[in-house]
Every structure is written in structure tokens, then in C-alpha cells.
């Protein structure tokens, strides 16, 4: 009895924890929690409410940005244990604490919790405060939701429905500002819609380190602007459109393209560099409309770079390979192509064949290539791809799965080191057969006239290229948005992605025809699903041994090596 009373006492929390009461429900919260930079700082009321499962509406607060506390939407009432003359908490006759309710509300995003604190988020006062804050925010808001891209994912819409007044009392004329401000090459600003939460300013100043934006003018005329004469142009500008709670900042790429409620959301990864940012693909009727970042604190926090975000238009380019083909294939038929390739591979002699596989293929597909290479006795390599890196997310390695190719033994320790060797061996006639999966080797040091000497050349890619054009057999592949699988990022984190759209024509995921090919050539089947191939890979490759497909979940798992 005494013990239970002890554990119920809000002041007797375990070390490192604080007991607070949110709307009558007592919860234990950590004394400190990571702030936007990951430093441990005292837990705020907003975080405590979130841990208690109570939503506190907010605009300016963002877990990955410094706290500004200017929108006042998260105002809550609270009380702390009253202290007696002996500076000890006073208690009721039944032993419970005497709570002294604060005479004023406080912003939940910037007020730290203290032991025994009580937070009230659903009192009439709090409701009225939220209503009033919304009323102020809506005073000069244009209410042009029908033409606003944010409609459907707009916090102002959502909170107005949930916490706002039913009707407007504002009879005066709204202040009108500039509706089409060209902030930079990828961002358009509508100053009227802005509620001045300053998230974009803090993001670009504190996260990116490019202090490009600010608020100019005063009062109702306050507006976001770039410094005169400059443009808002860094590699992370489009994140401001994501974090903008209203439709003030919009992506020029996505602007007026599709209403967000039509978009099917698919958990995926960005394949534009080795970082492997987690993304959500917004697609409708087999067309991709946008990539947006998905939170993964181990990889990309809440952000992604503009380069990766806008790198999707090539998927629907007209020169996609849509059917199997090649100089030795009479009709575009998968069965004929697989039979022809399998027959050709059975005639090759170990030592006279080489394989080049793309580091854009998934772990599972590269594993199948590995099976093939081991059976045929073929040396393998990947084509390296690099570009300038930055200090935030963009990685110099522009292949999404170089690490995976290395772990699977496909890539040389320095990816691409074998390619000149292959070129020399083709030229002197040692290598008579070459398999190229997902690359154009003519752009990586093997000349087309050398490829013409080969007895047997099989290529696959997403688009028609210099290698597929002269290959004996070519197979149409899929972009990563058109298939399932997993990538291993540069830090060795295995993450999976799902299929968003269907491949065009007869194009099939590499896994589909590689598993068929492996089965025909080696006589051993590893199954045709991503899961079965992953299982087989796990049994064989040490780096993947302790990881099951189901463990990958949404955020992936770091490999042991």
C-alpha cells in the first residue's frame, strides 16, 4: 500500500525521469530529450504531451529546427506543485500534491517540464486561445484554397477545422501582398498565404547554413523575402516547401500539377546518391508527381536535397526500353530472350567471360548476379559514378548501392578498377563474352568497337544506350520506383523500398529475369520474390547474416560490417 502510494507520487520519479500529468493522465517523461541538433536539453511540455499521446497544435515548432515560439498556437495551461513555507511541496490530506495553477498560459514548445507539473490542453481557456490565434492568423490569409497547392495537407486548414471558429468576424479589407514572388529557381512564394512561422528562415539559416531568407516590413505588411538582389538557391530549398505549414512556399516543379489527395504514397528511397534518403513517392495513375522526404533520423532526418528530389523525370522518358531485343533475337519475347541467353551462357568458358553490374541494382539483384558470376567463373565490377558532395546529405558516390555491391563482392574494392582490365582483355581476345546489367559500358572505358569483337554480349538497361544498341541480347530493366528491393547506403545501412508505378511495356524488374536466368544456367532456384532471394542472400553473405527482410521495416537496419 505504501509502495503503491510511493510510485504514484509525482515527485518520486526514477532518476532521469520526470512525472508530469497531461489532462489528468500521469506519464513519465525523460528529464532531457534531444533537440534539433541532437543535444540533450530539458524536455518541453509539447514533447511531454506527445509522449502522453495528446496532440498540441503548432505551426512554428518543428522537431528538427530551433525553437522560435512565435506562432502561439501551442499555448496550454499548466500548474506546478505549490511550495509551503518550508520550501517543500504542500500536500493535500490524502497525500496528493497541491497544484498551483499558473495564472497565464505558456507555449508548450518552449517551456520545460518540471517534476509534478500538470498540463491542461483541453480547458475552455485553451480552446478559446487556439480559436483566437487561428482567428488572428486568418485575418490576412487569402483563403484561396481552391488554387492553393497546400490544400489537403495544410495545417491551417486542419487546425481551422479542428480548433477554429465556424465563421469569420472579420469585415475589414484584407491586406494584400505579392502572390507570385520568384524566390529562387525552384521555389515560388505567395506572401499573402504566409503565417510568418519562420520555419523556412530557420531551416535555411541553421540547417543548411545559407542565411538567405528573412522577414521584411512590419505588422500586417510583414513578409518573407530573400535578401534584395539575391535568390534563394541552395541544394535544399525544396525542403522549405515541405515544412511550410501553409501554401506560401511551393515547389515550382510540383506547382499546379496535381492535388495532393489524389497522390498514392509509397515508401521508397532516393536513388540519386549513396546516402539513401528515405522518401515518399507521390504517384497517380502510374505517373510520378513528386518525391518528398520521409523522416529517418539515422539517415536524412526530415530532409532531402533538391538534386535527388527532382531526379525522376528520366523515368518517363520516351527512349525507355520496353521489350527484350538485340541482334540475335528475332521477336521481342521474354521466353526467347531468356532461352537464348541461357544457351549462350552454357557455352561460355570460365576465364573468358566478365560481368559488369550496375551499383544501381538492388542487393537482391546483385546477389543473383553474384550467383551467376560464381557459376560462370566470371570476374565482376561496377561502374563508378561520382559528383560533388556537400556537407549535409548529398554524397560523392552517386550510385545508391555501391556498398551493397562491395559487400556482395560484385564491385572491386575500388569500384570500377576492373573495367580497364576488362577492356584490355576484350581487346586481346581473352574475354569472349560480356554481361552488362544496367550500365552503358561504352561510357566507362570499353569502346564500342571492342564490344563488337565479343562472341556474346548481353546488356540490360532502363534506357536505350550505346551498349544495348550493339548487344546480341538486351533486356529492359526497371527504375527503382518500379520495383521492390533493398539498397545498402554508403554507411552500410540496408533499407528497403516499395514499388510505386508499373514498368512500361514488357519491361520487368531485374530480379524477375535474373532469377529465371540463374535458374536456367545454374539449375538451382532461389525463388522469384524479393523475400526469397533476400533469404538466400542472408544464408550466403556474412554481411547480411543477422538481418531478416522483416527487420528492415520502414527505416532499415545497419549491417554488422
Amino acid at each position: 500500500m505504501k509502495q503503491s502510494q510511493q510510485s504514484n507520487d509525482p515527485l518520486a520519479a526514477p532518476p532521469g525521469m520526470i512525472s508530469v500529468t497531461v489532462d489528468g493522465r500521469t506519464v513519465l517523461v525523460p528529464r532531457t530529450m534531444p533537440d534539433w541538433q541532437g543535444r540533450q536539453v530539458p524536455t518541453t511540455m509539447l514533447q511531454a504531451c506527445e509522449l502522453a499521446g495528446v496532440t498540441v497544435p503548432h505551426y512554428c515548432y518543428h522537431p528538427k529546427l530551433p525553437v522560435a515560439g512565435n506562432c502561439r498556437m501551442c499555448l496550454v495551461e499548466y500548474g506546478v506543485p505549490a511550495l509551503g513555507p518550508d520550501r517543500k511541496p504542500m500536500r493535500q490530506p490524502d497525500g496528493s500534491l497541491v497544484i498551483k495553477k499558473s495564472p497565464r498560459p505558456a507555449i508548450a514548445c518552449a517551456t520545460p517540464v518540471s517534476p509534478g507539473m500538470e498540463i491542461y490542453t483541453s480547458t475552455p481557456t485553451v480552446k478559446l486561445m487556439r480559436q483566437s490565434v487561428l482567428e488572428f492568423l486568418l485575418i490576412n490569409h487569402p483563403l484561396d484554397c481552391p488554387i492553393c497547392d497546400q490544400a489537403g495537407e495544410c495545417k491551417l486548414q486542419e487546425y481551422s477545422v479542428e480548433y477554429g471558429r465556424a465563421s469569420s468576424r472579420f469585415v475589414e479589407t484584407k491586406v494584400h501582398k505579392n502572390k507570385q514572388v520568384d524566390l529562387g529557381p525552384r521555389i515560388m512564394l505567395d506572401q499573402e498565404r504566409c503565417i510568418l512561422c519562420s520555419r523556412c528562415i530557420r531551416f535555411t539559416r541553421d540547417v543548411v547554413g545559407d542565411d538567405a531568407l528573412g522577414i521584411v516590413n512590419r505588422g500586417s505588411y510583414s513578409a518573407i523575402a530573400a535578401y534584395p538582389g539575391t535568390t534563394f538557391d541552395n541544394n535544399y530549398t525544396l525542403n522549405t516547401a515541405d515544412i511550410c505549414p501553409v501554401g506560401a512556399l511551393t515547389s515550382k516543379d510540383f506547382r499546379f500539377q496535381m492535388r495532393v489527395w489524389f497522390l498514392k504514397e509509397t515508401m521508397s528511397l532516393c536513388a540519386s546518391c549513396g546516402t539513401g534518403c528515405n522518401i515518399v513517392i507521390g504517384s497517380r495513375e502510374n505517373r510520378i508527381y513528386r518525391f518528398t522526404p520521409r523522416q529517418n533520423d539515422a539517415v536524412n532526418s526530415c530532409w532531402m536535397c533538391d538534386y535527388g528530389r527532382l531526379n525522376y523525370r528520366w523515368i518517363e522518358r520516351a527512349d525507355r526500353l520496353t521489350n527484350p531485343g538485340g541482334t540475335k533475337l528475332t521477336k521481342p519475347d521474354w521466353e526467347d530472350a531468356i532461352n537464348g541467353i541461357a544457351a549462350g551462357l552454357k557455352q561460355t568458358i570460365p576465364g573468358h567471360i566478365a560481368i559488369v553490374a550496375s551499383a544501381r541494382l538492388t542487393n537482391e539483384e546483385l546477389y543473383l548476379v553474384r550467383r551467376l558470376a560464381q557459376f560462370l567463373g566470371a570476374p565482376t565490377d561496377c561502374a563508378p559514378r561520382s559528383g560533388p558532395a556537400d556537407n549535409l546529405l548529398l554524397c560523392a558516390d552517386r550510385n545508391p548501392n555501391t556498398k551493397g555491391a562491395q559487400l556482395l563482392g560484385i564491385a572491386a574494392s575500388l569500384p570500377g578498377a576492373n573495367l580497364p582490365v576488362f577492356a584490355r582483355l576484350i581487346r586481346n581476345g581473352t574475354i569472349r563474352s560480356l554481361l552488362v546489367f544496367g550500365e552503358d559500358v561504352t561510357r566507362h572505358g570499353i569502346a564500342p568497337e571492342d564490344l563488337a569483337r565479343l562472341d556474346f554480349l548481353v546488356a540490360s538497361d532502363i534506357h536505350s544506350n550505346g551498349t544495348t544498341m550493339i548487344s546480341h541480347y538486351f533486356l529492359p530493366g526497371c527504375a527503382h520506383v518500379e520495383k521492390r528491393g533493398s539498397f545498402t547506403n554508403v554507411h552500410g545501412r540496408i533499407q528497403k523500398f516499395e514499388k510505386a508505378v508499373d514498368p512500361p511495356g514488357l519491361a520487368r524488374p531485374e530480379l524477375y529475369w535474373l532469377s529465371e536466368l540463374v535458374c536456367r544456367v545454374t539449375g538451382q532456384s532461389v525463388g522469384r520474390t524479393v523475400e526469397s532471394v533476400f533469404e538466400a542472400m542472408r544464408a550466403e553473405v556474412p554481411a547480411f547474416r543477422n538481418i531478416a527482410w522483416a527487420d528492415l521495416e520502414d527505416h532499415g537496419v545497419a549491417t554488422s560490417v
Partner: protein
């Protein structure tokens, strides 16, 4: 349930009385007031509030009222409506409205004349009008495009003209201090 089968008398079995009664009805209508309408030469007066085919309208200045918000496409139960949004290119002819559909199609074969598109439209741009008899020689022909829908819809006399009011308000604030327009 077991139906009682009445035993018919001889008079009944001859059917002559029944036939005679039938002839009497025919004769009465033959001589009486004509009630059949000679459709399609003659057409009935469509009552107000009738839900016919949905068409797009322009306002009295000739502006296409639709702003491609796609709410009608979203609400349409048989998915008869397909709106193609304008895309990011700024269209100077739209003025301060910024948006106008690039294409707007209604498949009249799918439309069930429920009127939800009219109800949901925040711009009063689509109305169920009085046409109830739509014909065509092919399925493609029955997919009405924006041009056709606007031509059929005609002009809606809008008393509010909210975008125009916003434009005038904004223009009045170009001068400083802003002078109220009311």
C-alpha cells in the same frame, strides 16, 4: 401461400366480356383528350432544379470560372470527371486567379447526374443544366471536353465575383497609405 384458383363460369371462359371491357377503355381514350407527347418533336418543360447534364460556365467577363481545384473529380461517384491541372507555367491570361484547367473532361456515359460536382464546387463553375437527352455515335464522342462543356454551359451571372473583388482590393493597396475601396 396457396392461391385459391377460382372456378371460371362459362361467361368468363369465353373472354368476350373482358375483351369488350378492354375495347371500352381504348374507345374512351381514342375519343378523349390526347395525353401522349410527340417526343422528340415536342419536349416537356424542364422544371427548375432539375438535374441534367453538368456543364462548365464562364462569368460575365468571359473568364472560365473553373480553377482546376479537382474537388469535383474527387467527389464524383462514378468517376466521370477528369481534370488536367495547368502545371507550373504561369499563365498571364488567368490574372490573379493563377489557375485554370488545361483540360476538363466529363464522360457523359458515366455521369449519373447526382449533382455532387455542383454542390462541392467552391467557385460555382459547374452546374447541372437542363439537358437530359445526350446522344452520340461513339463512346469517345460522349466524353465532353472543356471547350464543349463551356460552350454548352454558357454564362453564369455571378453577383459575387470574388476574384475580381480581391484584384480590386489589391490594386487599391498599391498606393500608400492604402485607401479602402468601400
Amino acid at each position: 401461400m396457396i392461391a385459391e384458383r377460382p372456378t371460371l363460369k362459362l361467361v368468363d371462359r369465353l373472354y368476350l366480356t373482358a375483351a369488350w371491357n378492354g375495347f371500352k377503355v381504348t374507345l374512351r381514350h381514342f375519343l378523349g383528350r390526347k395525353v401522349t407527347m410527340q417526343y422528340p418533336e415536342q419536349r416537356w418543360a424542364v422544371p427548375p432544379g432539375y438535374r441534367g447534364a453538368p456543364y462548365l460556365v464562364r462569368d460575365q467577363t468571359g473568364r472560365t470560372k473553373c480553377v482546376a481545384c479537382q474537388l469535383c473529380e474527387f467527389i464524383c461517384p462514378p468517376r466521370a470527371i477528369r481534370v488536367t491541372p495547368p502545371g507550373p507555367a504561369v499563365d498571364p491570361s488567368t490574372g490573379n486567379v493563377e489557375k485554370r484547367p488545361r483540360q476538363f473532361e466529363i464522360n457523359m456515359l458515366r455521369c449519373i447526374y447526382c449533382g455532387l460536382c455542383q454542390e462541392v464546387c467552391p467557385e460555382e463553375a459547374i452546374f447541372l443544366m437542363q439537358d437530359y437527352s445526350l446522344t452520340g455515335c461513339s463512346r469517345e464522342e460522349m466524353v465532353y471536353d472543356m471547350e464543349r462543356l463551356l460552350a454548352l454551359g454558357g454564362v453564369h451571372h455571378d453577383h459575387v465575383r470574388k476574384w475580381d473583388r480581391v484584384r480590386r482590393e489589391a490594386a487599391a493597396q498599391e498606393t500608400f497609405p492604402p485607401n479602402p475601396i468601400y
